[in-house]
Symmetry: C2
Subunit: 410 residues, 2 copies
């Protein structure tokens, strides 16, 4: 079979377990079975007709020998780009549809050539676009997470928003589990918080973007996203893996969705967390979210209770920043973040990140406003290379935070 | 805290690994953290206000003691129904959003009370509705899977369809990886196959439903589904876990989507296949797909190469049939099905199933039409309790199939 040029394929690498003497047949079966269905049975004329649609085995490598002739192996299959439409439905169903159910197998790498990549939206704003909206270019951004949303009325929520905004947060995000509209709709929240943000701005001199949880029936999300944007939402929070990657992509493609989109990793652990099944975290939360157009990607930091190993986190962030046709995303390493970790965050992930905290803000002995101030002081110090204890001499809020949670020098 | 009535909660059971002395705190943290955010810190008045939204720990059970004080434990949390909207986004984000990323943890049971269940669509047609459309009530249905789709033009595809229809299949489904519209759009296929089905009906006397792969941009799927139904599609094939469960649900809810929906399990293995992470297969492919309104559920049979252990398959099918407010679904155990397995399929899963075959039809020595005939003869024999070898005496096609693939008596 004549091969297509290298950039005419999407390459997927699987780490799987199989008998060593069956690897070749397994790989061939994938390449053909997930593209043109059959090959050797076809008459020559038919082969000529369908060959540009036929998958190829790019590489096979034995990683480890197990008992009974079984091996752990990495198999890379090339799927012709022309078999795909620019949807995640096509991409995922082809490269990990049936295969996801086929024994011990994990999708560990996915290489999408620019010809296909360009048909996906990528981030509309990216790092620069989010920074421009805030007018902040020289330091990590600070995001505060609503502590409790469910069961609070609009006045209580607005007071909670204000408390966080006064602490100096650049972004304030809804709790991702906030779905009920019994006390306040997203539209009402956006409008109330926009007014609150105007008021706090007069006090702090800082803009703050509210990331509203985009919820509701799936086919109404685009209309709602446009409406929330026009009402003054600072960003949209989307539970991407609960709704589907194509939902994110088609929101990102929409020119009337005029605000950044923040991807929450809810449910994604069900895809990436298993060692020998599912899809690697850097694909799930890195590669695919950027392709789909997330401007901001929340993912588990390596420091807290809900963690992603540091190496995986680094690969994930690399996928969000790699050169290519799409803008880079802002990573928001999350969970377990307190002011004492800011220097380490900067060391590990650089300045183009969002420092994202919930408990590390609301658990501050002085309350959420003091909690935000402690973070602002820590970020300022870390950027200027000043040790936190020294910075704490001029920030009582930071001093209290360091006393409660400790700190780590980078 | 005062508890709500039992049926006011969604109960989720997690099998997880943690230190035994931390289990109680872990469970409390989940119950509160994934609902009202905090509890013990709240003033009494606030507690009274939010208590109806607060989760509860329903049960904790140690399953196994590991080294170092670690245990495997099952923890059941009750989440108040009023916290949810009837969307899978709300359901999944709450019960397995953050938690999916929290170490070794698998969602192994999900109990949704009728009050919430009724707000989801469930199957529009169900077993009876699909049978009514075909006029077949006394035997398992036969479904034939297109062997190859990609790279074929409309005439070739239509010939392929006809060949399968002449074999006596009740349903013929697209390959789930068929996305490209370069040679024929779904609309063109539906119209061409509907004509072909009319022609074959004159020969076979049988109706056949074509399940067309519903593809394209996500926000256009509803319009396309309506259009394909009105053009004569027999059913819609949906890659549910590639597009998202809410997409299925909102298609099932739509009164203008007037044909059954068939859920393909593509990508679902990434969620269910890991032993200690993700979500159990009976939830992913049973409970959730029925709730979302799949009329037909394709899942891995216990017989073939891509398998689901028999016990898991039985739990899955039980979820599709359990008494409740929703119609039961038709299970289509798939992969590795050949005519010789039909008696075992009936024994294991009953008569209300779809016998679904690709290779077991197209690989027949006499071609796809003979392959279909062999299945029809096998189904007829199995229903009447006639041993397959005996039935093969009157069916050369079945005889050939048994010779090629063998058979198993139930």
């Amino acid at each position: 079979m004549r091969r297509l040029p290298n950039d005419a394929y999407v390459y997927a690498t699987y780490r799987l377990v199989d008998r060593e003497d069956k690897l070749k047949a397994r790989a061939d079966g994938i390449a053909v079975g997930l593209t043109v269905g059959s090959w050797t049975d076809l008459p020559a004329a038919k082969q000529a007709q369908v060959q540009k649609h036929c998958g190829v085995v790019e590489r096979m490598e034995t990683v480890e020998h197990l008992a009974d002739g079984q091996v752990v192996a990495d198999i890379t299959i090339g799927y012709p780009v022309i078999n795909f439409t620019p949807t995640f439905s096509a991409l995922l169903t082809t490269v990990f549809g049936k295969l996801s159910m086929d024994g011990i197998i994990k999708l560990i790498a996915l290489h999408i050539p620019d010809a296909l990549r360009q048909q996906f939206p990528g981030p509309k704003f990216g790092v620069q676009g989010v920074r421009d909206r805030l007018g902040v270019h020289d330091r990590p951004l600070l995001m505060s997470i609503f502590k409790s949303c469910i069961g609070n009325n609009l006045d209580e929520l607005t007071a909670h928003f204000t408390e966080q905004a006064l602490g100096g947060a650049d972004l304030i995000k809804d709790d991702e589990i906030f779905f009920t509209e019994a006390y306040a709709t997203p539209e009402e929240r956006v409008q109330a918080y926009a007014k609150a943000a105007e008021r706090t701005r007069q006090e702090t001199g800082k803009r703050v973007l509210y990331a509203v949880n985009l919820t509701g029936p799936v086919f109404e999300l685009r209309e709602r996203a446009r409406r929330l944007a026009s009402l003054g939402a600072g960003a949209l929070l989307l539970n991407v893996y609960a709704y589907g990657l194509d939902v994110l992509a088609d929101l990102a493609r929409d020119p009337e969705v005029t605000v950044p989109i923040m991807a929450h990793p809810a449910v994604s652990g069900a895809l990436y967390a298993a060692p020998h099944h599912g899809i690697s975290a850097d694909i799930v939360l890195g590669e695919l979210l950027r392709l789909a157009g997330a401007d901001i990607v929340i993912y588990p930091s390596p420091y807290g209770s809900v963690t992603l190993p540091r190496e995986e986190g680094e690969r994930l962030v690399a996928a969000l920043r790699r050169p290519g046709p799409h803008k880079p995303c802002l990573p928001a390493p999350s969970a377990g973040i307190h002011p004492g970790l800011v220097p380490v965050l900067l060391r590990d992930f650089g300045t183009d990140i969002i420092v994202n905290a919930g408990g590390g803000i609301h658990g501050h002995p002085g309350g959420a406003t003091a909690g935000g101030r402690a973070f602002c002081a820590a970020i300022d110090a870390a950027v200027r290379g000043i040790p936190l204890p020294q910075a704490a001499e001029n920030s009582p809020a930071l001093a209290q935070a360091l006393q409660k949670w400790g700190y780590r020098e980078a």
